[in-house]
Symmetry: none
Subunit: 233 residues, 4 copies
DNA sequence: GATGAATGAGACTTCATTCAT
DNA sequence: GATGAATGAAGTCTCATTCAT
């Protein structure tokens, strides 16, 4: 529907995903509006990507739109054709990247499975949709800048976190009724499910150079600790 | 009680600072050096405290030294008498707050106890020395600003984290020899011990207003999940 | 009625411009050049009208060509097809609006009448051709922007003011020979004839909301003061 | 009382009035705060004067604070120590220059004299306090920028114009009771008293180079026209 | 040592103007 | 001719840092 949805649906935020062959603008015969619009969207994407790079590297306050523009291959003023100001660029960046997560979560919410299976699903989802993508960087940004952007934290909580938590709790409630071990505890604190994921994100950006961290192994160990050793995905 | 409380109550940021008679230069009828030095140290503390407030509230880049000065009750120029520049103030702030932790960790490192007891000790240490103090804010700052201040992350890793990890691994190694469940896993990923603590810190600063989080209960639940239900401190 | 009314009613800014059926441009088999030219002229008029609106509302420097274009219903680039740059647009606007005045003045210059009659004619001319039209706004613009646009002031002086003054002085000279009271004084300072008109223009744009001003009554009062009470048009 | 009052009371805005030998800041023995404050006030004045120069020459929108700073002999940032932003500088400039006028007007408002005498007083006041000073430029600024700064026009109307008008009307009312010719007319339109003054201000800034205007003679002629020839001040 | 006024580099943002379509 | 996306120069404003007092 919205531009954002498009951005995400095509997984353009995945690390090295060429995805659809983004049309170049310089062609004689094409219908103008279509080409124009496509070129515009490509530019918008380029700016968002560049912004994510710069914001991630320097933080919101210290990032310079000059650098964003240069990295995106556009002039400084061009940014303002697509975003009202620096803050709008930031917020739209977050929304564009995280928005699609919601549908994914909801899709996975339905089935009724043992706690461990569910935990493994969530861990897999985390690794695939967050840790392996630039969403990892966006979550870092939210953590770092959230206190200064209450709206951002609110968006992330209401649109992403709370939905994830509600979905998880619903499934855990049924497992708790079945007296599955850990289900009741996790229902009260579903945050515990993804806590190691957070650690992984932060560790990788802060301490990777001192001591690399094998995220998959970490997550497996986490599952083992909670549910006893067993085979994971 | 602990070293840390002293830091907060007495506004002493430095680990082992015996006053240090900072000699002044240009003064005709100077008072006793001791008094002077004490006054200087008090000022230094005031600035550090104010800086922590401002950096926490606005982030490093957006925090204004003007506000730090006002909050500390000194003139803007005074800050430069105690710190080379804004960045130095920031780094010294981190060091001053976290420095004392190290000794604490080392003190607790010696004894040989069951994994669960050790985990409970660490959790208690975390709650008492970090979550209940301003160190929580400092950890947030490291997380938020670390990528921009490699030295900071390095300091935190080498001076705090790695020591804690080494100590924990040493104790876990012995538990692993005893085949205690979970010991081996935690030895490989000691981060899992404190992951919920991190979640608590970030949650409190980002989402507290939407959904409060009972940290003690969270940590107990975490222990229960890892080691089975039991009474905690 | 007068040439000027036509300008306003028919949106013709240029002295002798016939009609013009607005035709669209993008068509392969273009119509007669005449139509083309007429369409172009209409566009030019639209731009000039929009420019007057915007310049009047915001001043030359603060007016945005974006707004002019939007108000004129054309693209921003189109403005540059008709005017070299913003300043040229401004100057041509002034000329287009004031140009026709000249002939009017010259027409009225010939007859030899008593001073009071002549003064009444001038006052009537002012009310009808300036105050009741957008020329009022243009005069405001000249007053406001004149110092920054010497050419503008020069144009207004040489093309409008000086001619008006010369014509008035010629008639006043003859009245002065007849010893008509005030004639000699007004000959030296014909500005006094229209001074209240200026006040009216400025007052209406600045203070109308505080205290409305009846321009006709003001002008009549002015005449009464100069020549003694009497009936005016 | 206020800074502004000081500014005006000392007539620092007069063209070439050395006035009080403004203390220089570089002196060893003086009490600090006093000197500081004096230096600050001097700077403020310098900025206001420079701003008046630049705003007069270029208009509010086109004037560059860079130029104001350079002309005032201060750094760009210094302006912001004294004024919130460009607009505040502009508004405070207007207020500082016009504020003192009020008291002058009120002082002259009391006595009961013939209309002509009163008119002569007003003309003299205009020439002395406005035309011979930089207030002339400020009035030009209000005329040029007023429409964009409603507060400005409001200030000028309520603080200056309306008071002047009320005072004049009060005196004219008594003259009207005495059946003095012109009194009743001027009571209805006191603007007519100063209309030529306005013309003079505008003429001097727009057309002086083409045809100089002897303001005093103009004002005398104006009085003659209204009250018949006679000796003026 | 302490102050805080002053500085000026640098960032964000606007908008006249251009030019490929 | 017409369009409007793109450009980048230029202006406002902030704030870390300096330095005379």
């Amino acid at each position: 529907m919205t531009d954002q949805s498009v951005i995400i649906r095509n997984s353009q935020w995945r690390a090295a995903t060429p995805a659809k062959p983004r049309r170049v603008s310089r062609q004689k015969n094409a219908r103008r509006p279509a080409v124009r619009a496509a070129a515009g969207e490509a530019r918008r994407q380029a700016i968002l990507t560049a912004a994510l790079d710069e914001f991630s590297a320097a933080g919101f306050a210290a990032a310079r739109l000059d650098d964003v523009a240069r990295r995106a291959g556009v002039a400084k003023g061009t940014i303002y054709l697509y975003f009202r100001d620096k803050e709008a660029l930031f917020q739209e960046l977050i929304r564009a990247v995280l928005g699609p997560l919601i549908t994914q979560f909801e899709a996975a919410a339905g089935r009724d499975v043992p706690v461990r299976v569910m935990a493994e699903e969530i861990v897999a989802l985390f690794e695939r949709e967050i840790y392996a993508t630039r969403r990892k960087d966006v979550i870092r940004l939210i953590i770092a800048e959230g206190p200064r952007f209450p709206k951002l934290a609110a968006f992330y909580y209401t649109e992403v976190l709370s939905k994830l938590i509600v979905a998880a709790r619903a499934r855990l409630a049924r497992a708790a009724e079945r007296r599955e071990p850990g289900a009741e505890t996790l229902m009260r604190f579903p945050q515990l499910l993804v806590a190691p994921g957070l650690v992984a994100i932060l560790w990788s950006s802060l301490f990777e150079r001192f001591e690399p961290l094998d995220v998959s192994a970490l997550m497996r160990a986490h599952l083992d600790l909670m549910f006893g050793a067993g085979r994971n995905t």
